[in-house]
Amino acid sequence: MEILFNEQDLIDSVCVYVAAKEYTNPESVEADLMFNPSFGFSAEANIRGRIRNLTEQDLIDAVAVYLRDYHHFNPDHLLVDLRFAEREGITASIQVR
């Protein structure tokens, strides 16, 4: 099975992931997704003025955490492919093994 995440789903994933790390609620986190052909995917999270940078692996972990916490998936069975296209922006395809 393949799950497709749009950009808002990825934003939600980052918010949930960072909120869990920072012991706060996801609503108080703002996320900014970035893609650079040279450096790959990254994100910047703003937690009430405090900035936290996320690497590509953090984004993958964020997707796994989001699917685990909100949709009860087993993270061990997930493979995440981050994608960038001009029209769709940053999206993700998650393969469930």
């Binding site: 393949e2 900014d32 997704l33 893609f35 703003n46 692996q57 916490d69 492919d81 296209a85």
Partner: protein
């Protein structure tokens, strides 16, 4: 000169990363769509203008147990309010007996002002102040 500016603009567009506006949590109502077919990508490739990170598994930091319900701080253990009530009652009785200015009445007899009682009250107040001072100065690291 024009070529130089054009080359600079082209270089700038390549170097500056593609960014989305900072957005916040939508409430977890994801628009997950399922598809039965997928293609595997083992590394970052550029196929038809789409970049892929390649299918990667979450790191070992992601545990199988949910962290969603652990975000809220644990409620403070509920303690019996008996001792707080008893302490308030005792403090009230003590202060009431100490600051009564005109003696007290007992079984129809009236007892007037007592100098020994006043000294005892001053002694108790001094002890209380000493204990409070010690509590607050003892917290310094």
């Amino acid at each position: 000169m024009k070529k130089l500016i054009l080359a600079f603009m082209l270089l700038l567009s390549l170097v500056v990363p593609s960014m989305t506006e900072a957005r916040s949590f939508s409430g977890g109502h994801s628009s997950i769509s399922h598809s039965s077919s997928f293609s595997t990508h083992s590394s970052t490739v550029n196929s038809g203008g789409t970049y892929h990170s390649g299918y990667k598994s979450p790191s070992s930091n992601v545990s199988r147990s949910s962290s969603y319900h652990n975000n809220a701080p644990a409620p403070a253990p509920k303690r019996s309010s008996f001792w707080s009530h008893a302490a308030a009652f005792g403090a009230g009785t003590l202060l009431g007996s100490m600051f009564h200015p005109f003696g007290y009445h007992s079984y129809g007899h009236s007892y007037g002002f007592s100098f020994i009682g006043l000294l005892f009250d001053i002694l108790i107040i001094a002890i209380i102040i000493w204990v409070i001072k010690r509590i607050f100065t003892g917290r310094r690291y």
